[in-house]
């Protein structure tokens, strides 16, 4: 697998050291091991929660994915501000990669959220403030990816995406506020609030492991997507060069 880059895309000509011969990065291997460990520990070695029952085990995958989604979109916003300031395409590639991975994590968050809501709150979907915010997050960043797809010119694509990346981040507090105000007007029948810290240690330790392993998974996926962004730009430059 030879990797060649044109001169003006300053990417390492030699594949980066973290990459084994077959192209799978160490990060990805560590991530898979960590997530597997989390699964085993959560399924076999963590006590069941009395009130919610086994469904409570979703606690180890839902909020952890949600945290990564918000982390990803924080990266998009920072990279967007960076791009508009420094006009360095590397930052735009960071934003592009974080957005795509972020949408994947947001989708998982929504699905696991409703899978948890059904047994606990009795419905697949509730307009719970956090879940609704995650839903809107999903809409904003799918819009971000569609916008990227709709612009041919590489520089304009970077500029427009940066503007949307920043405005998207500005919007989050407003959505949270208005949804929260809306929700408190029609309080949901809250049976057991999920993920309250008053949990026994084993559960907290499993949650910590899940938290770390999903973050590592994010880093692995992000690095791979960033590598893809570099090689795609190199290919475009070569085809247009």
């Amino acid at each position: 697998m030879t990797t060649q880059f044109t001169s003006d895309v300053r990417a390492p000509a030699v594949a980066s050291p973290q990459r084994t011969r077959s192209g799978i990065s160490w990060w990805f291997i560590v991530a898979v091991i960590a997530v597997a460990a989390t699964y085993i520990r959560a399924i076999y070695f963590t006590p069941l929660e009395a009130i919610q029952g086994p469904a409570q085990k979703i606690y180890y995958v839902h909020p952890t994915s949600a945290w990564v989604a918000f982390l990803a979109f924080g990266i998009v916003a920072l990279a967007s501000i960076g791009y508009l300031w420094l006009k360095d395409l590397k930052l735009d590639r960071v934003a592009e990669s974080a957005a795509e991975v972020g949408v994947v994590f947001t989708s998982v968050t929504l699905v696991t959220g409703s899978l948890w809501g059904k047994p606990i709150w009795g419905t697949w979907w509730t307009w719970d403030a956090r879940l609704t915010l995650t839903l809107f997050l999903w809409f904003i960043y799918v819009g971000y990816l569609v916008l990227r797809g709709a612009i041919e010119d590489r520089e304009m694509r970077a500029r427009y995406s940066a503007v949307l990346g920043i405005l998207g981040a500005l919007l989050i507090p407003f959505i949270h506020l208005s949804v929260y105000l809306f929700r408190t007007l029609h309080p949901m029948p809250i049976i057991g609030k999920p993920s309250r810290p008053s949990l026994p240690n084993e559960m907290l330790e499993t949650f910590a492991l899940a938290f770390v392993s999903f973050t590592i998974l994010f880093i692995a996926l992000f690095r791979a997507r960033y590598r893809l962004a570099i090689e795609r730009d190199a290919l475009d430059a070569q085809e247009r060069g």
Binding site: T6, D153, A237, R240
Partner: protein, 249 residues
């Protein structure tokens, strides 16, 4: 030609009105303009020739302050690019597109441009400009119902209503009939006598050389030739130009 141009400011003899050093603009990997050097004093007129895709329009848009240079420097009327409002106040651009609002009349378009440039008594100046471009009789018809040639004249009037010190023309004669071409030539000559500097992009060698004080040929983003007109033999120039253009970049 009645009515003198009010705001006349002739730049000091020494300092060039339009100057570029290694001016470059890249789109993605491609260098549309690749290190152009240029120096024109007030009253000069550069005829810029070259095949399609040579980067002429990109160069013009950079000098007009519409495109930021990727590298190199350029100064227009003493202001370094991208100069923002200062540069755009003294530059007039005539491009392939008319830059007019089809729904508005010729008068409204030119008056709007005049007000946008802060021209005193925009209404009268606009009318005088339309009159000089011999399109006054159609001043109150929506621009989209005018012929291509008449639209071109209104576009020229729009671009020169604020009596710019630097006028950038991208094939302005295309689509003009004899009367239109004469009106444009007179207006340009008058601007030059008042110290304006012109850059005229054209494919018509005769038209260009007749008007110009300097001539340049651009190819693949670079000036392959740049010299004052009085030093060059028109016939020889035409021959080498045809050969350059047919061989392509």
């Amino acid at each position: 030609m009645t009515g003198a141009v009010e705001r006349v400011s002739v730049a000091s003899a020494g300092e060039p009105e339009v100057e570029a050093r290694g001016l470059t603009r890249t789109f993605g990997g491609r260098r549309a303009v690749d290190g152009v050097d240029l120096s024109l004093a007030a009253g000069d007129c550069l005829a810029l020739f070259g095949p399609n895709g040579a980067g002429k329009t990109t160069l013009l848009r950079m000098l007009a302050g519409l495109l930021k240079p990727s590298a190199g420097t350029a100064r227009i009327g003493g202001v370094t690019l991208p100069g923002g409002e200062e540069v755009r106040a003294v530059v007039g651009l005539i491009s392939h597109a008319s830059m007019l609002y089809g729904a508005l009349t010729a008068r409204e378009n030119v008056e709007f441009a005049a007000r946008l440039h802060g021209v005193g008594d925009a209404r009268r100046t606009a009318l005088r400009m339309l009159e000089r471009m011999r399109v006054l009789d159609r001043a109150d018809t929506p621009v989209r119902s005018l012929s291509r040639g008449l639209q071109q004249r209104v576009s020229i009037a729009r671009a020169m209503v604020h009596s710019p010190r630097v006028v950038l023309l991208d094939e302005p004669f295309s689509g003009l009939d004899a009367a239109g071409a004469a009106a444009l030539t007179n207006a340009l000559v008058e601007l030059r006598t008042h110290g304006a500097t012109l850059v005229l992009v054209t494919h018509n060698l005769g038209e260009g050389l007749e008007m110009a004080s300097h001539a340049a040929v651009m190819q693949a983003g670079r000036f392959v030739r740049f010299e004052p007109c009085d030093e060059l033999d028109t016939a020889a120039y035409a021959a080498t130009y045809r050969e350059l253009v047919t061989r392509g970049p």
